[in-house]
């Protein structure tokens, strides 16, 4: 089973470059092939939504959408997100998926309908849903602000760490996170 998703990662604030990654995902074996292209950004006001999932303890990007904030109103924006959640990869993953992480970026309201497919994931043992970037961007006015993320530490207490995935997406986007980085308290 091969499925192609076009993924657009958040632009680096410094360069405002757009990075796109094409992933060919074999759900049995993980990522089979990938390519990374970087092209100059045409618009610094782009927003994007990226979905990650964790399969066999490895984090992968599975989907994304690029939005032009001045061209798309909220209704269209939500519709595009809806289309993602109505796509069939939920069903494909359902029989084996034990761990799912979704990071929502942008200003979308995540409606009950969009998350209804969660209930089909009968084997799901770990569910992590993260929002926040929009809030941070709103507060601090920059996409360059890294995500705050709670991580395990050697002391047994969580630490708030920068999330490198948003700091250096081009370098780390398809690299599996280490167990220490992915384990959250």
């Amino acid at each position: 089973m091969h499925h192609f998703f076009r993924v657009v990662l958040p632009q680096l604030a410094a360069a405002f470059e757009e990075h796109s990654i094409k992933l060919e995902i074999d759900l049995q074996k993980g990522v089979k092939r990938c390519s990374l292209d970087a092209t100059p950004s045409e618009c610094s006001k782009r927003k994007c939504v990226i979905f990650w999932y964790n399969l066999h303890n490895t984090w992968w990007v599975v989907g994304g959408q690029l939005f032009f904030s001045e061209e798309i109103d909220d209704e269209e924006h939500n519709e595009m997100v809806d289309n993602h959640f109505k796509s069939d990869y939920w069903e494909l993953l359902a029989p084996t998926l034990t761990s799912l992480t979704l990071e929502f970026q942008g200003s979308a309201k995540i409606s009950q309908e969009r998350l209804q497919p969660l209930l089909f994931l009968h084997n799901l043992q770990s569910l992590e849903l993260t929002g926040g970037n929009h809030f941070i961007a709103y507060t601090y006015g920059s996409w360059s602000v890294a995500r705050r993320r709670k991580c395990a530490s050697s002391t047994g207490f969580p630490l708030w760490r920068r999330d490198w995935r948003n700091v250096h997406p081009s370098a780390r986007a398809i690299e599996p996170a280490s167990p220490q980085e992915t384990k959250s308290l």
């Binding site: 034990t98 409606s111 209930l119 992590e128 926040g132 995500r147 705050r148 709670k150 207490f157």
Partner: protein, 237 residues
């Protein structure tokens, strides 16, 4: 970001649920009997999911960051914690602005790790004597409570002054009883390390405590005692 989960989240195999950094999580009911860990942080709302006490939660992480966020409703959250008293092992209630903890905290039978940083505690609350790790950083203690010397299972103890008042906590008596605790491996009076914790006010962050001469004397004395006894204890200040 607003998120609306299914009103009844029924996932029979779910053991770990994490909801972070949403600005308004709509109320929902958890029907996940296998759930063991909840990590929950909502900027805006003050409610926790319902149904938690029907689960066997061992890790309840409902603390909020010290730089500001809405803490869950105390009454509801304490009721949830009390409802989980038989199973709870790790609890994070940081950032709630608490001046005291309920007396029944002292009788949580399985609690071994408590993170109660960034509250307004000035007196040591009633806590289980079996605590292994205790984080009281950023509270209003003016000295290290002597009662801590009775917590013989402690391996990690962290305290520092409240943010913005770096001289509030002082060492006012010798630390020998504390560093003599048989299992203690970390005794930290350091403020949060900006390199390890996300700070958006990084440039303004004062990552030090202002110690009095007397405090420095006791800390130096403790260092000497640790070295002299070949202890594995790590003292940070």
């Amino acid at each position: 970001m607003y998120i609306h989960l299914p009103a009844q989240l029924s996932l029979p195999a779910l053991r770990r649920l994490s909801l972070y950094e949403f600005a308004n999580i709509a109320p929902f009911h958890v029907d996940c009997r296998a759930l063991q860990e909840l990590h929950y942080w909502d900027y805006m709302s003050d409610h926790l999911p319902t149904g938690l006490t029907e689960c066997s939660i061992t890790v309840l992480d409902i603390g909020v960051p010290y730089w500001g966020a809405q803490a869950p409703s105390r009454a509801d959250s304490f009721a949830t914690i009390e409802g989980l008293r038989a199973s709870l092992e790790v609890l994070d209630i940081s950032g709630w602005g608490l001046e005291a903890l309920p007396q029944w905290f002292g009788s949580l039978p399985r609690l071994h790790t408590l993170r109660a940083a960034d509250n307004k505690l000035s007196l040591l609350p009633s806590l289980p004597a079996t605590l292994v790790a205790l984080d009281l950083r950023g509270n209003h203690f003016t000295e290290v409570p002597m009662q801590l010397e009775t917590f013989t299972h402690l391996t990690s103890l962290m305290m520092c002054s409240a943010y913005g008042n770096h001289s509030m906590l002082q060492i006012r008596h010798g630390l020998r009883p504390l560093i003599g605790l048989p299992n203690l491996r970390l005794l930290s009076f350091e403020p949060r390390a900006p390199d390890n914790e996300v700070l958006y006010v990084e440039d303004d962050f004062e990552a030090y405590e202002v110690w009095s001469a007397k405090s420095l004397y006791y800390l130096g004395q403790a260092e000497h005692q640790i070295i002299a006894s070949n202890s594995k204890l790590q003292l940070k200040f």
